[in-house]
Symmetry: D2
C-alpha cells in the first residue's frame, strides 16, 4: 500500500537480522516481519540507519524489501534510500516501489548547512527518484548534524507534493511538532503525517503535541502501540503509566552506538531474532551490559508480563 499524508500509528524501524557469520538471516527476517504484522503495526521501515543499510549488498537490500512486502499484509513498507549519490538512491527507490513498497525515506547528507542547501537537496532528490514516489523526510540532527527549522520542513513539504510524512527525530523536538501543527492550523502547511523517532524516548508527550504515531525501533513495539492507542483514546494517565514502566529500558536502548546491540539482544531474547549479531563494523554488548538489560527486563516484567522472557 502506498504511504499517504494521513498515515497514522506505529511504523517500527526494522533491524536487519544477521547470522553469526555475517550473512543475512532470512528466517529471522521473515519472523520479524510477521511479528510486526501480528502485533498490529501500521507499517514498517526497512533499510533505515538502525537497519545497517549501508552494510548491505544491493541484492540483499532488495531481498529485505521483498520479504517485508510479502509478510506485512499490504501495510505500507517504507524503504530507507539515503545514499551518497542520487544514482544509487534512484535505483533503490524505483526497485523498491516496483516490488510493492509504499514509499521511501530520505535523510539529508551531513554536509548540508544553510536552509537553501537543505531545500535544494530535497528538490534534487525528488527530481532524481521521480515525483511519483511518496517520500518521508528524516529530520535527525543528533546523528546527521543537519538542522531543519519548521519553516524549512514546511518549504520541502509545500514544494514537493510527493512528500507525505515527516520522521521527526529532532532532539529536543516537542516545540517543533507544535510549530508544524500551528503552521497547518494557520493554513500555511498542508496536512502531513508526523511520526517520531529517538527510540520513543519522548513518545508520551509527542502524541500530546500532535504526532500521529511512532517510527522507531524499540524492542517492544507493542509498548509504542499501547502509548499511541491510549493517547489517541484520550487516556493520558494510562498512556504515561505504561510508558514509564518501559522508560528505563528505552533510555538504555537509546544510547548512541550501542543502542542497536541492546535492541537486537532483546529481540533475540524474545525469540524474534535467532541471533543478536551485527554485520561488521558493529558493536556488541559486554557481559555487564547484558546483565543490566536482563535486570531491566525483569523489572519491567513486574508490571508488563510481555517482558517476562
Amino acid at each position: 500500500m502506498r504511504l499517504t499524508p494521513d498515515a497514522s500509528g506505529v511504523f517500527p524501524i526494522a533491524p536487519t537480522p544477521f547470522n553469526p557469520d555475517g550473512s543475512v538471516d532470512w528466517t529471522s527476517a521473515d519472523r520479524l516481519f510477521e511479528f510486526y504484522h501480528d502485533i498490529g503495526s501500521d507499517g514498517i521501515t526497512v533499510l533505515g540507519i538502525m537497519g545497517e543499510a549501508p552494510k548491505l549488498e544491493p541484492e540483499e537490500s532488495v531481498g529485505l524489501v521483498k520479504r517485508a512486502v510479502a509478510k506485512m499484509g499490504g501495510k505500507p513498507i517504507i524503504v530507507g534510500v539515503s545514499a551518497p549519490g542520487f544514482a544509487a538512491m534512484r535505483s533503490l527507490a524505483r526497485q523498491a516501489m516496483d516490488l510493492g513498497a509504499g514509499g521511501v525515506m530520505i535523510a539529508p547528507p551531513p554536509s548540508l548547512r544553510t536552509d537553501d542547501q537543505i531545500t535544494g537537496y530535497y528538490a534534487q532528490a525528488v527530481e532524481a527518484i521521480g515525483t511519483d514516489i511518496p517520500f518521508v523526510i528524516q529530520d535527525y540532527p543528533l546523528t546527521l548534524s543537519v538542522v531543519m527549522t519548521p519553516a524549512v520542513i514546511r518549504k520541502i513539504v509545500m514544494d514537493n507534493p510527493s512528500c507525505v510524512m515527516l520522521k521527526h527525530e529532532d532532539w529536543p523536538g516537542l516545540e517543533k511538532i507544535s510549530a508544524l501543527r500551528k503552521f497547518q492550523a494557520e493554513g500555511s502547511l498542508r496536512p502531513i503525517s508526523i511520526v517520531t523517532g529517538n527510540g520513543g524516548l519522548f513518545l508520551d508527550f509527542e502524541m500530546e503535541r500532535g504526532a500521529d504515531g511512532a517510527n522507531t525501533g524499540y524492542a517492544f513495539p507493542e509498548l509504542l502501540i499501547d502509548v499511541v492507542r491510549l493517547q489517541k483514546a484520550g487516556q493520558r494517565d494510562a498512556a504515561h503509566d505504561i510508558f514509564d514502566v518501559h522508560l528505563p529500558l528505552m533510555r538504555y536502548e537509546q544510547q548512541q552506538g550501542v543502542g542497536l546491540a541492546v535492541r537486537k539482544y532483546t529481540l533475540a531474547k524474545r525469540g524474534i531474532l535467532s541471533h543478536d549479531a551485527q554485520r561488521k563494523p558493529g558493536s556488541a554488548l559486554s557481559a555487564a551490559a547484558k546483565a543490566e538489560v536482563d535486570y531491566l527486563l525483569a523489572r519491567i516484567a513486574k508490571h508488563d508480563r510481555r517482558a517476562k522472557i
Copy 2:
C-alpha cells in the same frame, strides 16, 4: 576544602540565578548554596556549562565563588575555568583558589581531534594554571565533540599529579567507567574520583560500574543523593525504585538546549530560585512545556512527597 582523588558523593552543578532584568540574583544564589549544603551535598560545581559561565562578567564569576565558599561549610567548591585562552583560565583559577575553592574543572576546546592534541592540551592547561591546583577533567563528547578514550584519560591522569577527578559525561559511557576501573585494578592508573553527569540519566548503573557519585544538576539533587547512598549501601533494587520514579522528569530535563530552562523552572517552583530567568541568549519554556513539567512533577509526587510543590 581542597578536592582530593578520594572525593565521593554528589556534587551538584549549580545554575547561576538571574533576575528577570538579567542581573545576577544574589539572594537566590545564597539560598541555592544553602539548599545544596543542607540536603547533604558533598560539594558543588559553579561556573559549569549549565552555570551559563561564558555570559558572566569576571567580577560576577568571582562573586559566585565567594558566596559558594561562604555557604557550603567547608565542602569542596569546584570552579569551571574552561576558557578559549589560558590567560583567562589561569586568572580565574588562581583567584578562585585564593578565595577558598577546592579545585577547578577544565573542558577541552571543541577543535581537538587526535589523542596527542587532547593530552597536549591538558599539559598546557596545567602549566598555565600551575601544578598546585587540583583539577577535574570534563569528558563530554556530546556537547564538546572531543572524544577521549580511556587510554587518553589515563595518560592525562598519570602525567598530571594534580588531576584528581573525572567528570564522566560520555554518552554512552558505562563501558568507559568499567575500563577505567579495570586500568586501576591492573595498576596502570592511579585511583581517581569518577563522578558522572548527563543529568543523572544513567546514574543507576554508573554507580554499579564503579562511579563514586554524581556531578550534575538535576533539579532534585536529593534524588541523586538517594541513589548514590542506596547503591553504596548495596540496596540495588531500592536505588532503582527511587531512580525510576524520577526518570521521566530527568529525561525531560536532559533535553539539549532547553534542559536548563526545565531545571530553573523546577527550582523556582520549589522556591529555591526566585526566578527561572536565563541571561541572554537563553531559552524559555513554552506554556505547553511548563504544563508538561507540572504534570511530571505531580506524577512523581505520588511516590516522592518532595516533589509535591
Copy 3:
C-alpha cells in the same frame, strides 16, 4: 574615526606581538602600528582571530586598542570583540569605542546552523553592545563552520543599521561578492563595505568582483595596497603581475595553523616585530619551514625589492 559603510582600501589584521617570555611586546606593537600607518593603510583590525585575542588578559586587549588609536593617526581601528558570551562582548566593545576605536568585528559562534539562528545571533549581539556601535560581520566558514548565504548577510545588514562592513572570508567566495553587489544594484541591499580576508589569496579577483579592499594580515601589506590601488585604477594586468610575484608566499602563509607563525617570522625578519613568538598555545616554524620562507622571500625579492631582507 568611526567606520562607515563607504570604507574602502586595506585594513591589515594586526598580529599581537609577544616577547619570548609570553608577555606582550609593547615596543613592537607601537612599531607595527606605525608601520601600518606609514605605508598608507586605511585602518587596521586588532584582536582578530590572527591577533591571538582569546589568549589576552582584558587589560592587555584594552592596551592594544589604546596604542593602535594613538599610532594610526585617526584612521579607523576595528576591534575584534567575538566572545562566548555577550557580557564580555559588550564590555570590550564599549571600552574600545570609549578609547576611540572606529567599530567592532563580530564572528558567529561555531554552533550556529540555521539561517534564523545566524540572523538571531547578530540581533542579540547588537542589542548587547548597543545600536550605536558600527560593526563588521565576519563571514569565515572554513574556521568558524558557520555558513551564511548572501540572503542571510543581506538580512543582517538590513535589520541592523549599525552594520557597516562585511569581512568576506568565505572560501570559495567570488560568487558571493557578485551576489551581494547584485542585491545592491537591485536595491534590496543598502551599500555596505566589503573587504576580504583569506590571507589575500583571491584578492586579485575579489577586487574585480566588487570588493572595496582587503582586511587580512599578509606580512607584506604593501602588496595588498598595491593590488587594491592598481585594480581601482583599472590597471588589471599590473595588479595581477605584482600579485603573482607574491602568491607563492601568500599561499605558504595561508596554511591553517602555521600561517600565523609564517607571518610573524616574516614580520620579524623585516624588523617590524622584535620576535616571532606566539603566546601559548602556539605553533612555531621548523628549521625546514624557515628555510622555505627564506627561499620564497629571496625569489620575491628578484621582482619586488621590498622583499630584500
Copy 4:
C-alpha cells in the same frame, strides 16, 4: 600492474566525464586516459572524490576501471573504493582487481575521531577487502574531518602489509611528510610511497620534504610531471619557476566546491573532455568565473605554451 611501496611519480586523479544529459561520456573517458598515458603519467586514480564516484551506478564504476586499464598501457590504476559500508567496498575492490587494477584507495569515514577508531577502521577495511589487495590511505582532513597523526599513519602501515601508499592531503602538511620520512630513517616505519594531493598547491615543497610524487587532478598534469621531474633531478629553481607560472590557476582550481568545475572547464577547453558537465548535484561556473579562468590561462600561456588554448 600492481601498485607497490616504491611507486613514484605523478598519478593524476581522473575526473569522470559526463555528457550534458548526465550520462557517462565514454568517448571522453577513453581520450582522457590516453592523454594521461601519453604525457607520461606513472598511473592514475579513478573513482576518487573528484571523480564524482558516489554519483555513479555500480556498472558505470566498473566500466571506468575497465577503460582505464585498457588505455593506460599496464601502468597501475588506483581505484577509489571508499564507501559507507564494507560490503560495497569489498565488492568494488575485488571486481576492480579482477579487471586489472593495481590497488585501491580508502578514505576514513568522517565520524572517526580517536586514534584507535582510525586504526581500527583500516584493520576492518583490510579484513573486508582481503589482505591481498594493495591499498592507499587517503589522509584528507579538510574534507573528511578525520585527523591522522604521523604515528597513526605509521601504525596503519605497520599493521597492514598490504598498505603501499599514502595519499597525503593534509593541510598544512609539510611537517607530516618530514615526520614520516624521519620515522622511516629511524627504522620505525617501513618504506612507503607518499604522493600528495591538494591540487598540487604545495607540490614544490612537498617534493623537497620527501614526497615521491603527486596524486592530484590539476588540469595541467604535465606541470605536475615537470615539477616532480625537475625536483628529482635536483633542479630546484627550475621546478619553482615552472610551478609559479601555474600557481595562480592551481590556486583558483583548488577552491572547495567549484574546483572540479574549473578543472573540467579547462580540460574541455583543452579538447580532452568534450563537455565540462557534472552529474547532479554539481556546480557550474558562472560567466565571470569562466572569464577569470580564461584570463589565467592566457597569462600562463605567456610562459608555458601548453596553456595556449
